[in-house]
């Protein structure tokens, strides 16, 4: 289990190798990578900046990860989230879930992202090509996605 909030980029294959090396119980690895899109509401995006609540963020990510490990009996997992200024095409977030079988790995990956998007204290600000900056609004569809896990769904 590991959590990292960092400005540096990550390498998915390096992270998978770190999690799985020497662990023969792992039969399935699910990964999710979130990236910066090149458009913001129909306008070209120049950059995106990510702010977070240092201290609280790490605590929330660790709590969310521990919940996923317990719920889906994960063999290993990691969450990496970048902060600072990012350009279109750059990586934002990486979630890896390792389990003996694929359903748990895939569900855990989905669960981790739904919780991260609604509970981890990060905020995105988009700057468009014309120099205007605006904070990204939270989406109710993320709350809906998060809510399905509390009905006992897997």
């Amino acid at each position: 289990m590991s959590v990292s909030v960092q400005s540096a980029d990550f390498d998915v294959s390096v992270e998978i190798e770190k999690l799985t090396r020497g662990n023969a119980s792992i039969g399935a690895i699910a990964t999710f990578v979130g990236k910066v899109r090149g458009d913001a509401g129909g306008q070209a995006l120049a950059s995106m900046s990510l702010e977070h609540y240092a201290g609280m963020t790490e605590r929330e990510l660790e709590r969310i990860e521990a919940e996923a490990v317990a719920r889906f009996k994960l063999s290993a997992s990691c969450i990496i989230h970048r902060i600072g200024t990012l350009l279109p095409g750059e990586n934002i977030v990486l979630v890896i879930a390792c389990a003996p079988h694929r359903h748990d790995a895939l569900s855990a990956c989905d669960f981790l992202m739904d919780y991260l998007k609604t509970e981890a204290p990060f905020w995105k600000k988009e700057t468009t090509d014309d120099g205007n900056g605006s904070w990204v609004d939270a989406r109710s569809s993320d709350d809906t996605a998060r809510a399905r896990w509390s009905k006992g769904g897997t």
Binding site: Y53, R59, H81, I92, V93, W135, A138
Partner: protein
């Protein structure tokens, strides 16, 4: 109650557009003793100046954390060391 003797010093932290509207990211404030909940604190902050009035104009748009844990606006602030205010989160 004057609140002088019972007022409490708490660190307030602001993030994203709440921070921009308030005009700073962190401050140490002395909170009157009759402020019991997060909602009370928001109402008190609204009266601290134009930036605060603007930032906290719509309390339902603001989320809060006490000592770095998410709370509802009805949460009691008694014993809090740090209270953070921010918009709904948008990471991932």
């Amino acid at each position: 109650m004057t609140g002088i003797a019972q007022s409490r010093d708490i660190t307030l932290r602001y993030f994203a557009w709440v921070r921009e509207k308030v005009g700073h990211s962190e401050e140490r404030v002395s909170i009157p003793a009759d402020i019991a909940t997060v909602a009370d604190l928001v109402a008190w902050l609204q009266a601290r100046g134009d930036g605060y009035a603007h930032a906290f104009a719509k309390p339902s748009a603001i989320r809060a954390a006490i000592d770095q844990k998410h709370v509802q606006s009805s949460a009691l602030i008694h014993g809090a060391r740090e209270i953070g205010f921010f918009p709904p989160v948008t990471g991932g």
